[in-house]
């Protein structure tokens, strides 16, 4: 079976947040899902009061 759309969507997100960025409103749901299984990690800027996200080491393996 070829790579399904859902995996492609995950990989697009993992690539976008590879180096760490503020979370875009549209990405909140998928970032939460990917974080919940350890493919990403979330953080917070206490100065700017913004939620951030970064692809985890395992997530990077998927987009290598």
């Amino acid at each position: 079976m070829a790579v399904c759309n859902s995996i492609i969507q995950d990989e697009t997100i993992l690539t976008y947040y590879r180096d760490g960025k503020d979370i875009r409103d549209d990405d909140v749901e998928i970032v939460n899902e990917l974080s919940s299984i350890g493919l990403m990690k979330k953080g917070i800027s206490l100065k700017r009061k913004v939620v951030t996200a970064k692809t985890s080491t395992l997530g990077l393996k998927l987009i290598s």
């Binding site: 299984i37 979330k42 953080g43």
Partner: protein, 311 residues
């Protein structure tokens, strides 16, 4: 108006005693307050008192690389005077932006209960005139920081920065009581069953891509580990949460079993893929041997006509 938010969290553990070892003895991770006294506001220094039960750790909560240059935090841990393995207060200060200026307090928490099996109840406080700091995500980050101090990540790897993976957050925010919080934490474990199954199945179904096999194996290991923790949580706190312990133990046991099935499927598929690759290689080897034989024959024939046949 100042807001106080009550949270319950569970430090995942298999031993049933998270205070078996003293996590604050790690000198590479925790520093003396004396080393940071020029950055902490004076009023807090006198409040913190003796340096024996105060530890400090610098940390950056943000993952945005642009924040790393101009944003960093100091966490101050106040430990129980009688039992210095036990955390009783947690403060976070942030740099004001001006060189040489003291940091300012962002928020602090009081730990109300912290039992040896890992359940922690804390109240998070915001400084006066600021009711926008303590968001759910910030509470998650506070919990993760405390979890990482006590929990050794034996079932999943840390990320490249050395922080724990963000996947295991059994935290219940603003629950009305302990029983509701225990149920809330169980729901968090249950919700992930679907996410893990969906992703692992997709990865197993992708053929000829070793990276998906690697990630699937890692996810199976991680999920199985988390559900072992879930079983322990049920055993430790099922009574206090008024839940049917047998039902939940069975539920998580079934999930662990289904992870084993995934692993078997993966092994079968991997063996099949390996045998397909071996067959392909054998076929290629056969073709190359035939070609080599043909080439040798052609060389012999050509040699015959070139050097022997001229007459």
């Amino acid at each position: 108006m100042q807001r106080d938010i009550i949270c319950y969290g569970w430090i995942p553990n298999l031993t049933g005693d998270i205070f078996l070892m003293d996590p604050f003895k790690n000198k590479k991770k925790f520093f003396s307050i004396d080393q940071y006294s020029n950055r902490i506001p004076v009023t807090f220094l006198s409040e913190f008192g003796s340096s024996e039960n105060v530890k400090v750790r610098p940390k950056i909560f943000s993952d945005n690389k642009d924040d790393i240059k101009n944003e960093n935090e100091l966490i101050v841990y106040i430990l129980d005077k009688e039992d210095t393995k036990k955390l009783v207060k947690w403060y976070v200060f942030i740099n004001s932006g001006d060189v040489g200026e003291a940091y300012k307090l962002v928020a602090y928490i009081d730990i109300i209960e912290f039992d040896e099996k890992g359940l922690i109840k804390f109240v998070a406080h915001e400084p006066e005139n600021d009711n926008s700091t303590i968001t759910n995500e910030f509470l998650n980050q506070i919990y993760i920081d405390i979890r990482d101090i006590y929990h050794e990540h034996t079932h999943h790897d840390g990320d490249s920065d050395g922080d724990a993976a963000d996947s295991l957050i059994p935290l219940s925010i603003d629950s009305k009581d302990e029983a509701a919080a225990i149920k809330g934490i169980l729901v968090k474990f249950q919700t992930k069953i679907v996410t893990y199954h969906k992703r692992i199945k997709q990865y197993i179904n992708v053929i000829d891509k070793s990276k998906y096999i690697t990630v699937a194996v890692e996810k199976i290991r991680q999920a199985s580990g988390e559900y072992l923790y879930a079983q322990n949580f049920v055993a430790f706190y099922g009574d206090r949460g008024n839940i049917n312990i047998t039902v939940y133990q069975q539920l998580f046991s079934n999930v662990i079993q289904s992870m084993s099935v995934f692993l078997e499927e993966l092994n079968a598929k991997y063996s099949h893929e390996t045998s397909v690759i071996t067959k392909r290689q054998n076929k290629l080897l056969l073709v190359m041997t035939i070609a080599l034989v043909a080439l040798t024959l052609a060389t012999i024939i050509l040699g015959y006509f070139t050097y022997i046949k001229p007459n």
